[in-house]
Symmetry: C2
Subunit: 418 residues, 2 copies
């Protein structure tokens, strides 16, 4: 995989020029994307290298893969649906304009599921082509895992960043809600949609977002002895595979062996309730957000999307309002959990990437934290017996993004010592 930190160091020391660094991504895409289908559209190489050559700024030399629901003024943005085949926006999404202004170059648009929902796309998992890469940010996770780009963007409404990161064995970072603006990214559910990032390691994602936002997010050294870790099996622990359960216990053991305090945290009732409330909020809002598409294009939708929107249209406003109150209570309750621990440790997914491309897997271990808005990382490093990646999810208090990124970097190191 390509490392953001390594590329930035190479550019800063003059070992490579920004254009040379970016050229590697175009070479890798040419060489590797054929069987993977991670890219929906590859940028014009010549224009990208020219722009890298004249770009200065803190992200010079970084080639980005953008999930194909991020608007780009110079490339189509097709949202994973035939409804928008050839759609060419007039502007860049806010986050994309910010990346470019800081010297990053767009390598291309990565494959998304239809409107970033559940209907699988054609992307394959670089660790085994017979397995799903997860979704909805399918192409972004696969593109980073295969070493085609050092960073790629995603969005998470259910589990669309942390889950594909886990399945593809890369770092995933879902920032605190609204840390990075969603302007110019197709809306599915405005209370849930959260921009996220895929990178080789947690510290790579941290450095990219630090430079993008001007926030102090770069991973710091964490003394494990000062870290209070809550082992959070959650109310859906029964959904996790034996391999995943073992992986979570393994991660907890390694943290404890290095001096961290690890305690079991039982799921408060308010958080189980909130997991249920998630789909009410998601589907009610999606039915409104996609009102134009429903009225004009619903017969071009997949069955899974059609049914979710149909269900969303049947939800009464007072049921939605009650779900929002449940979410608010869950946010308070989550904040209180973090009086007792610094970090929650929990599965990133139910297990490794499922075989087949018929499903992108289950977001059951992610959607609660999307609803509460807490920052999460997927920490890669562990594998099942067949060699497929297993991801560990860390969660921190709202706005403690640097802590979750730093603790994620620590755990990543501990997991790599086999």
């Amino acid at each position: 995989m390509q490392s953001v930190l390594k590329i930035l160091a190479e550019v800063e020391t003059g070992a490579v020029t920004p254009a040379e660094a970016v050229a590697r991504s175009f070479d890798a895409i040419d060489r590797l994307d054929g069987p993977l289908n991670a890219f929906a559209h590859v940028a014009d190489r010549k224009a990208a290298l020219a722009s890298a050559a004249k770009a200065g700024g803190p992200l010079a030399g970084i080639a980005v893969g953008l999930k194909d629901i991020f608007d780009t003024h110079d490339m189509p943005t097709e949202l994973g649906t035939p409804v928008y085949a050839g759609r060419q926006p007039k502007t860049d999404a806010a986050s994309v304009a910010m990346m470019r202004a800081r010297g990053a170059v767009v390598a291309g648009k990565t494959v998304t599921t239809e409107f970033a929902f559940l209907n699988p796309a054609a992307t394959r998992n670089p660790h085994n082509l017979d397995h799903t890469p997860g979704g909805s940010s399918s192409g972004s996770a696969a593109a980073v895992a295969a070493g085609m780009v050092p960073i790629a963007t995603g969005t998470q409404t259910g589990g669309s960043v942390i889950r594909p990161a886990a399945y593809c064995g890369v770092a995933g970072y879902k920032p605190s809600f609204r840390l990075v603006p969603t302007v110019g990214v197709k809306t599915f559910s405005w209370s849930l949609d959260t921009l996220g990032f895929f990178a080789a390691g947690v510290a790579d994602a941290a450095e990219f977002v630090a430079r993008l936002t001007g926030r102090p997010l770069a991973a710091e050294t964490v003394d494990p002895k000062a870290l209070r870790v809550g082992l959070y099996r959650s109310g859906v622990w029964g959904e996790a595979s034996p391999d995943m359960k073992a992986a979570v216990r393994d991660a907890a053991r390694r943290l404890a062996a290095n001096g961290a305090t690890v305690t079991e945290i039982a799921e408060p009732g308010a958080l189980s309730d909130a997991r249920e409330a998630h789909s009410t909020i998601q589907n009610f809002e999606a039915a409104m957000a996609l009102a134009f598409e429903w009225e004009n294009h619903r017969h071009q939708m997949s069955e899974v999307l059609f049914k979710a929107l149909e269900q969303g249209r049947s939800i009464r406003p007072d049921t939605y309002d009650e779900a929002r109150r449940t979410a608010r209570r869950a946010r308070h309750e989550t904040t209180e959990l973090f009086d007792k621990v610094d970090i929650l440790l929990t599965p990133s997914a139910t297990g490794p990437a499922p075989q087949g491309l018929e499903s992108t897997g289950s977001p059951i271990f992610n959607k609660l934290w999307t609803l509460t808005g807490n920052p999460c990382v997927n920490v890669p490093g562990l594998r099942d017996k067949a060699g497929m990646p297993l991801g560990i999810q860390l969660v921190a208090r709202f706005a403690r993004d640097r802590l979750v990124l730093s603790a994620g970097t620590l755990l990543e190191t501990l997991l790599s010592d086999t």
Copy 2:
């Protein structure tokens, strides 16, 4: 002015067909818009009448004016800036698709200030062509005031719904934050941008939004004797003109004379602080939301917008985060105010519409409630000595939209008894 309630009744009794009702708006626009400049684009009359003729649904017969930052798939959406001259979206904004699905017809796009910020547009006040109609929803307020359409949409980031409604002597309704989705409406500040509505009377706006959202919002009869009213001069009372101060006292007196309990409410410190925090949040977010326009088109911006974005770019993330915490405290504090009273009564603006078109007036009496997200109405009916409208603002607890609309309807009746 055209009344939503009257048109709906006429259509329901068969006194007019939906197409006949809608035709009145096209006739009125033809006759009246010349000197007013309320419309940036008028819909194709023939297509609109054909669509009205076949439309059923709860909003059949209603012609809507849409602020020209609401995307429409069949009309340009130019955002009040030469940067987007001729811009033709592929989709309707979510709220527009919802209106159309319920039988409403779009009469045209109303003039907005540049990107819905402060730089004045060419629209004039129907009560006196030498005065501003207010902004940023300038055309929508003027279009309703002149009787060209029964309903028009706006957005409020500072005071862009309540203030122009007050200046133009029409009802304005700013719903609770996110009651109506902003999807497909140009973002200025995602924490503040709130969709709103202009109509002849408060009950007209209530009925339209009730039918649009399926929520029970239609104005109910309120017994003034059961109403606890807080007279909220606020920390910026000194900014109000003598006429406006007298109007607020007049409104309070009429409510008290009809049995309402009226008590003075002093502004809590947390709310004064929040008024200051508003521009930090607004400008920080606008600098990101308009990042593409800044990078590519900043020399086509007005000075007032350029300076606001420049200032926004200089705000440090921790200053913004502190402003968000201030806003959160203000929301708690506001909720507590409503333990003591049902409704706050406060000016809608500093006075009547200022003379000249060089300024859209001050949002100082509005921006606090935009930040807290509470539902507000502008109640028309009073005038200054020169005959220009003076608006009274009512504010209710978050999500108590029906109460503020019902109390607004009551006050409107009391103000009309001269």
